[in-house]
Amino acid sequence: MADADTLLTGQSKAGDWRSFERVILPPVRDLHKIDVYEAEADGYKALKDVVRDGKFDPKGLTDEVKASGLRGRGGAGFSTGLKWSFMPPVDPDKPRYLCCNGDESEPGTFKDRQIFEYNPHLMIEGIMLAGYAMTIKTCYLYIRGEYDDYIQHVQRAVNEAYDRGYIGKNILGTDFSMDLVVHAGAGAYICGEETSLMNSLEGRRAYPRIKPPFPAQVGVFGMPTTINNVETLADVPLVVNRGADWFAGIGPEKHPGPVLYGISGHVNRPGVYEYPTGMLISDLLEVAGGARGGKRIKAVVPGGSSTPPLTWAMAEPTTMDAETLREAGSSMGTGGLCFLDEDTDMVSFTRRIAHFYHHESCGQCTPCREGTGWLEKCLARIDEGNGHTRDLDLLLEVCDQMEGRTVCALADAAAWPVRWGIKRFRDEFEAKCRPTAFASGALGGDGATEQTGELTPTGVPTT
């Protein structure tokens, strides 16, 4: 690729981010209270404008969201307006549902929780607007069970909104009615996968479903359903209030908008930051106070545990938007960045991620149920110093056997960090391995038998 074509310019695509004013979590004290939200943050203005005053009809609202360029913040980054337009025409005999995905279980992701706590009404307003755009009568807000405190907190906000007539029958005196049900999970990462979430809502074992049929055709309770992430829906009132152009003008053209970056790991000021998309990873490191203890950052996981880790050299010129991250060899995921410093053991780190996916695989389909365990066991052996270099190639092959062959994307999510961890930090992995000599043939080793004499990690004798 010619230099001019590359997105990895090392330049921020977030515009004048230093003077960016936060809009999802604006600096307003006690914003979670409905009075404050209404008085100080244009609260429920968008809903009134649209539902009562006819600023947009349902199709117009969908088009506006499409025009804003808003892309899902739940991991896949799909165009939100486009997704809404997949809903079939309204059939009065068929209920249709909206699911708001607040399962937030991807390791390294903790942004939706801040919306629950600090600006729940923005999300609620967004839910109501999305419901209006798709003529939906019920929305299920699925929140992971561990967020017990936040579930109660959100439920209080929902009750307030019911009391003010923003949810329920004949909203704002119109004939638009919609209910919002808060549903608590109970400890299963897989419930964040959209079809698994639907099975969970239906009171089944949360196995993801095969697609097709897609949720827009056959979703929760067998009815047309749209599912969006909490942050995605929280962006909708902003689009309505400030216009699609405003939204589209923030950050890079193809992946615009304000976004919550969850920054964790070896930084001095971890936490959730709101900035435009397209922030340079190095700028984010700077706002997060730099590396702890003055160390060097060695690796960055840019979007939650399933996104491939980047070496610092790869991460430094990379900006946080889907296209650039893809070019850099990773993905935007949930925008949860984890910075790892030079002392981090990438083998243990990868092993712990593999443990997570092994623990969370629903066990429905073969490659994931069996493969995640295999990855963990093999990585554990290497981590404990009993592995051989050939195990690394085996791991890559097991990743091949898992990727793209399962019901849902969890198997891919499990394989990527292992595959790219090995590819990008192979020397670290090899340093923990016992040498295998089988490749060269000269030594006649079979990899399973201990080799005598000094061998380099690749099996070539030093003498």
Partner: protein, 230 residues
Amino acid sequence: MMTPDTPGPSVSPQPQYVPGQAPPRVIPDAELVWTDEEAAQIETFRAQYPTPDGAVMKTLWLAQRKWGWLPPETMHLVADTLGVPYAKVYGVATFYTQYFKEEKGTFVFDVCTCFSCQVCGGYDMLHYLEDKLGVVKGGTSEDGLFTVQEAECLGACGSAPMLQVTNGPYVHNLTEAKIDQLVDALRQGAELPFESVTLPQDGDEMGGNRRTDAQAVETYQTPPVSDTIH
């Protein structure tokens, strides 16, 4: 850096409940009933979903809050109350880690050792707790007060390492001193306050926590723990 246990060989386990053998009864018949208030609540749950199955998870939560864990008779009661097959309820309960299928201590510490927490010392915290309480993870202290478990990411990675107490409050930015305080407070019967995690940008722009109704923890004041990681 510390890591989870090596999955090792073991023998074929017995099933927790053997078909045809009545499981030991935990809740006597007289107590195995919903109060009027709970029954009304279950009706509300039911009304929220087009099928009774939709209310299974909420009713299981209600049962667990009431009885502390889910002995079989409580799952049976949930099934009967909603008119859902018992086996189905059991299948659901065993899918989710937060439903307790065996009795736990009064307080359950779910210590996150995943991902960000791992690299910020989650295992140190786990092992410190294990040593302090004289238990191995998964086990319960002799006085029956504390169960220590290793947890997957709890969605509070910015305030790692952290733990959750009995499916409820989060305790952020753990240190050994903070764990000592926590255990003492719980022993003395203290209610744990809700800890609100300050946004770093709020720190800059609003001088700290934005909420006037919650206790704040300031994320970025955590001492760097990566020094201890090798």
